[in-house]
Amino acid sequence: MTAARVGIGGPVGSGKTALIERLLESFAHEGVEAAVITNDLVTDEDAERLRRGGRLPPERILAVQAGACPHTVIREDPTPNLAAADRLDRQFPDLDLVLLESGGDNLASTFSLDLVDWWMFVIDVSGGDDIPRKRGPGVLKSDLLVINKIDLAPHVGVDLARMFEEATRVRGNAPVLGTNCRAGQGIGAVATQIRDAVLFR
């Protein structure tokens, strides 16, 4: 089987790269062969961070530079990311999973299903507990909504229970999970979602 493709989108600073770092640790323990494609505006910043982290061989981490609004290369014309994913498939035929990280974008950002099989949207507590209520397409249409930095809730005046309740309601009961990527909290549940949805393990 060809590798599953999973998208990870969300606003700038919400913790997408940190989540990928933790997921790579989790998948490595389970023997899942993974690779990553990062998207940045005009740099390879996130790819370089992941390479420095050493969780994957550097050649399994590719960088795409959008050159414009990040959503343009994950939705309107995902050709650069499709080419990168195809290249990974050719180079590493035993891959199980390719994670595609979008550049940080706004709440309207979504992935084309021509590019990914399944995708998640990452927001964070410090961005404000009104984000789910604003009903952005990223929040509404993603297969999984991740609310990161849950440990910061008391420090930024966020009612976490209400934020989860509102997120679940606007998403029509589609899954919402909380994480604290820095401490590794909640990562297992996100990995389970990916395994069940596209890895079938």
């Binding site: 060809t2 959503h71 299903l113 099989d117 399944w118 397409p137 249409k141 949805a197 079938f200």
Partner: protein, 151 residues
Amino acid sequence: MVLSAVLGRTVEQPWHDRAHASEARGALETVRIARVDAPRRRMRLVTDRGRDVALALPRDAALEDGAVLYSDEGLMIVARIDGGPRLRLTPADVASGLRLGYFCGNLHWKADFCGGAIVVHMDGPEDTYRARLADAEVFCSFAIERLEAGQ
């Protein structure tokens, strides 16, 4: 059960005949897939008889209505892809058409251009689409018609 190939389509005569024979034996099962989800190459599905299956297709496989995903003597599984709800927007004049096309593009709507009309594929509540179109009526003139599956 992992379905990893599109074996054919029921519009092709040999597969049409096999599907008919399977149905007669009570061995035909279908999986319903929404049009917006059809580009996915991996997903979990449940057949009309409650069988859990996992779809893991090659990237170049064409998942279309009538795709045969499994076939042996005792079972055939066929994909049914619904036409999906759509709105046909017919501009009153060229200027309206230009403005309307630009407007739909800015909203990132999935659309086809059909005989002078824009056909928008909805992947959310129709009310949401109509609310946005009400905004557009301020600066261009067009008719809205809901299209059902098969239209």
